[in-house]
């Protein structure tokens, strides 16, 4: 098809200018980090410690994101699609931790898991404080409110009529959820999951408080960055940051393939 050159409106030009500005701003940030970190990258990638923290970060971020999704989706469903009592109040409650500094979330968790109950749990084998499990717990508490909110909103946007139609065609509530509600909310949910995973990868405040930073044990990439910065090793810190960025880019391309495009409309807007 021939290319067309319709006049670009003033409005579009402004948005494009702002977009370029924003892109420039954020590029400057990432480029600064790259420039500072890349010279130390080779060294970092040869360090057993860094390799360990890459693995630990990937593992904990992935596990916590999966658990988070598994908890958030049913919760969002219960809050939007069932006759759950006092919905409004629970929703507010669930979103409260969003405004807490991660440090406070970490401290709160530390208090909980150091309580009698927590110590019982620990004795029963579920040790959280100062252990790898704690990283996952911290990530979950940091991300859960946020994922629940996005998933809830996407469920609310799903046309109730389509769900009813599916029910009339013989779908039970569960089937209707899997075949209609979930697929129609899919893009938002995938978006939320990517965000949660990214956040988990970079999360730091809550984890540090709950599990500390014991080398080769609870040292995630952000923890390693923190330690390097505390000892004045800015290059090494930024090298770890660059590794985070590289993982992030890779993940984006991966997710890009999973995320199926929305169904095209008949008309291509002119």
């Amino acid at each position: 098809m021939r290319k067309r050159y319709l006049p670009v409106s003033f409005f579009e030009i402004i948005t494009i200018i702002i977009a370029s500005m924003v892109i420039l701003l954020i590029s400057i940030l990432t480029i600064t980090i790259f420039v500072t970190g890349v010279p130390y990258l080779g060294q970092a990638l040869h360090s057993k410690e860094v390799l360990f923290s890459i693995k630990l970060s990937l593992y904990t971020a992935s596990v916590s994101t999966v658990i988070c999704t598994i908890l958030a989706v049913p919760t969002a469903y219960a809050l939007t699609k069932t006759r759950f009592p006092l919905c409004k109040i629970w929703q507010t409650l669930l979103e409260l931790p969003l405004s807490l500094p991660y440090l406070v979330i970490g401290l709160g968790l530390l208090l909980i898991f150091s309580s009698k109950l927590g110590k019982e749990l620990s004795r029963a084998g579920f040790q959280v404080v100062f252990s790898t499990k704690g990283i996952i717990v911290a990530h979950i508490f940091v991300n859960l409110p946020f994922v629940i909110r996005i998933v809830k909103m996407s469920f609310q946007e799903v046309d109730m009529r389509l769900e009813l139609i599916a029910r009339m065609l013989g779908a039970t509530k569960a089937k209707c959820f899997w075949t209609i509600t979930l697929p129609l909310a899919k893009n938002s949910i995938i978006g939320a999951v990517i965000l949660a995973w990214s956040r988990a990868l970079g999360e730091f405040g809550a984890t540090l408080m709950l599990v500390g930073t014991t080398r080769m044990k609870t040292e995630t990439l952000p923890a390693s960055i923190y330690l390097n910065m505390a000892t004045g090793d800015r290059g090494a810190a930024m090298a770890s940051a660059v590794i985070l960025l590289i993982i992030s880019v890779a993940a984006h391309f991966l997710f890009h393939f999973i995320q199926i495009k929305p169904e095209k409309s008949r008309i291509k807007v002119v």
Partner: protein, 260 residues
């Protein structure tokens, strides 16, 4: 089969009022009425979407709203189709069969048969957003018919079709009615359609079911001015029959016979 007992349902300014109707098993019933008179709402009420302010609707003796939707076994062709946008035409039609755990080979056979009968085989892989109006309507029909439901509710099911395709649909529905013995209620603005398909006709006026009669007795009872006005709509504005052209068409070209 379907027993509507003094059903009343109010929403905003509109009120379905004291509907009384008894539909026999295997009957075909047509609703006529002015736009906005509550035909769709009555059909939806029969499907159990609304709990009445008073009265109730019973299907085989059970209040329909007390049956969970998936067990109502009602086929519904929606006026605006209600296709699943994330599924192809094929998947839309398959949906109900899958939910009823129909065996796979049988399922494919039924879908391809139905698609052939409705003339939509060529678009089975397309998504609803890309379909033409008539294709959407036939997909909605196929999705309801393929389940061979006990009760079939259809809301202006042929409105987007050309007369040729439409008369094929009449045959198809009649055939399904004969083969699977189902009760059919449908809404239409087409008098020919109503008489051709239905045994009885109900006329809705302003949320009330003003008149119910056998199709052949439709023109014998004109006391009510509202019904008079509605039926009058089927004349053109000079008071003559709207079908002038069709009549001439028939006179001009008797040699024109459809292929079969």
């Amino acid at each position: 089969m379907i027993h509507i007992e003094n059903f009343t349902y109010q929403v905003a300014n509109f009120k379905l009022q004291n509907i009384e109707l008894e539909i026999k098993e295997n009957e075909i019933f047509a609703f006529l009425g002015k736009t906005g008179s509550g035909k769709t709402m009555l059909l939806e009420a029969i499907a159990g979407f609304y709990r009445g302010n008073c009265g109730a609707i019973y299907i085989s003796g059970k209040d329909v709203v007390d049956i969970v939707p998936e067990e109502r076994k009602i086929g519904f062709v929606y006026q605006d189709f209600g296709l699943f946008p994330h599924m192809t035409v094929y998947e839309n039609i398959r949906y109900g069969l899958k939910m009823h755990r129909v065996e796979k080979s049988k399922m494919n056979l039924r879908i391809s048969d139905m698609a052939k009968l409705l003339g939509i085989e060529h678009i089975l892989k397309h998504y609803p957003a890309t379909l033409s109006g008539g294709e959407r309507q036939r997909t909605a029909l196929a999705r309801a018919l393929v389940l061979q439901p006990r009760i079939l509710l259809m809301d202006e099911p042929f409105s987007a079709l050309d007369p040729g395709t439409r008369s094929q649909m009449y045959q198809l529905v009649e055939q399904i009615h004969k083969t699977f013995a189902c009760t059919i209620l449908f809404v239409t603005h087409n008098l020919y359609e109503a008489e051709r398909m239905a045994q009885r006709i109900g006329i809705m006026v302003n949320g009330k079911l003003k008149m119910v009669c056998n199709t052949d007795k439709l023109f014998q009872n004109y006391e009510d001015t509202e019904i008079l006005e509605f039926i009058g709509g089927y004349l053109n504005d000079n008071g003559t029959d709207v079908s002038k052209i069709e009549r001439r068409l028939n006179a001009d070209c008797t040699r024109l016979q459809p292929d079969k």
